[in-house]
């Protein structure tokens, strides 16, 4: 009897833990958003010295990069004029064929203020939320390519599930051969393109882009580059390893695509 009495507090805590995990009381989980919202200002203040320090430390490489980018910018400006001509021609042709144009996105610039506190998940906390027009499911990108999608929105923050999270899946295609598959993340932070037909034409160096299927990610966003091609364990399909187009571990600013 005495032994049971001694075990009672432990049993109560274990029961509480199990109930909290399984029942997911809305009262407890509703406190989650105000907690992160309230912490945002502290995180921004604490992040500030690190960001400033990085700016000073990387001044030399930033200067060299600036020179290279200026050169690239001049070349791109010429290309832009050429592309503008092509775009106008494309618009005219689309109107002729009565196509619907679906690229009316506006971009919201957002700063990364935190990362997932659990090691096997890959998500970011950014400083824009409901008040800035962010909604669940919105696509997040950088100039280099796809980052992920919004999975949780608070008043002044949002959580972004990165494409290398094990929960993430992106309908993708190989740009060169148009072979389609699903890109998903792994616990080790790698990206893998699954379910490619067994005789598909995929080579190392090919670019994987979003296919637009499923409606979450718009078509044509760069997902990553193929670094390894292999067969799935069942031998029925091919899969390949991708290196993400975006350096997901070094993100500081991202763009949210708002329709």
């Amino acid at each position: 009897m005495l032994r049971y009495k001694r075990l009672l507090p432990y049993l109560s805590v274990i029961s509480l833990a199990i109930v909290l995990l399984l029942a997911r009381f809305p009262v407890v989980s509703s406190l989650k958003k105000p907690t992160v919202d309230g912490s945002k200002i502290f995180l921004k203040i604490l992040n500030y010295p690190f960001q400033e320090l990085k700016k000073i430390l990387f001044y030399h490489s930033a200067y060299n990069q600036n020179l290279a980018l200026r050169e690239e910018s001049a070349q791109l400006k010429n290309k832009l004029v050429e592309l503008e001509e092509l775009r106008q021609e494309n618009d005219r042709l689309k109107k002729l064929f009565n196509f619907k144009h679906d690229s009316n996105f506006t971009l919201i610039v957002s700063q990364v203020i935190g990362r997932d506190s659990v090691n096997w998940l890959a998500s970011l906390i950014i400083d824009k939320g409901k008040e800035n027009g962010v909604q669940n499911g919105m696509c997040v990108i950088t100039d280099a390519g796809l980052v992920g999608k919004i999975v949780e929105v608070g008043s002044f923050y949002s959580k972004v599930m990165l494409i290398n999270d094990p929960n993430s899946s992106v309908s993708s295609l190989i740009q060169r051969s148009r072979e389609q598959g699903i890109t998903s993340g792994t616990v080790t932070g790698e990206l893998r393109l699954h379910f490619l037909p067994v005789n598909s034409d995929v080579k190392v160096g090919d670019l994987a882009i979003t296919s637009g299927l499923g409606g979450v990610y718009p078509k044509g966003l760069v997902v990553g580059k193929v670094t390894e091609v292999g067969e799935e364990a069942d031998g029925l399909s091919k899969s390949c390893l991708l290196v993400p187009a975006v350096k997901l571990s070094r993100l500081e600013e991202v763009l949210i695509m708002v329709r």
Binding site: F50, M161, V187
Partner: protein, 161 residues
């Protein structure tokens, strides 16, 4: 009154350390579990009820800053609080080596509990996750634990906890 304020300030301070650390220094995508180290440290200064409250708060805060299953960290932290209560009586509060070994064991248990919960909702390989995430996290946490213990001990002495 000083004691609860110290406990709360420690947990929130370590939470911000955890978030900032993961944002700026995350080699190999692994981050140490600072919050668990804080829970272990504080467990030597309080009784079971307070430890459960601290573990609940730490788990809740960790769950708030992840996109994973809400409640997973509350669960694993509460279980760790029970294990800590069972074993802390055999460890002298000032013995750093034993406390560091305790950190390794508790982080490993915490990681395994979390892994079991995650596996129930996502299809991830158990051994791969254990070898590449849980084990490195335990080693990493054990490595940083002495430094965090030292800082927290200094603070505890300063505020006569």
């Amino acid at each position: 009154m000083r004691r609860p304020v110290f406990f709360l300030a420690s947990i929130f301070g370590v939470l911000f350390l955890q978030i900032i650390f993961s944002n700026h220094f995350n080699p190999l995508r692994i981050q140490p579990n600072f919050l668990l180290v804080a829970v272990i440290f504080l467990s030597f200064y309080a009784d079971f009820k307070i430890n459960v409250a601290i573990a609940f708060l730490a788990g809740f805060l960790k769950d708030s800053f992840t996109a994973g299953i809400f409640g997973a960290n509350i669960f694993s932290f509460l279980i760790c609080a029970i294990i800590l209560d069972q074993y802390k009586r055999y460890i002298y509060r000032e013995d750093l080596y034993l406390k560091v070994i305790l950190v390794f064991v508790i982080t490993l248990v915490n990681g395994l509990l979390n892994l079991v919960i995650v596996i129930s909702s996502i299809s991830i390989p158990f051994w791969g996750s254990f070898l590449f995430i849980v084990l490195p996290e335990s080693f990493y946490t054990t490595l940083v634990a002495p430094a965090l213990f030292w800082i927290m001990r200094k603070c505890a002495l300063k505020y006569s906890i």
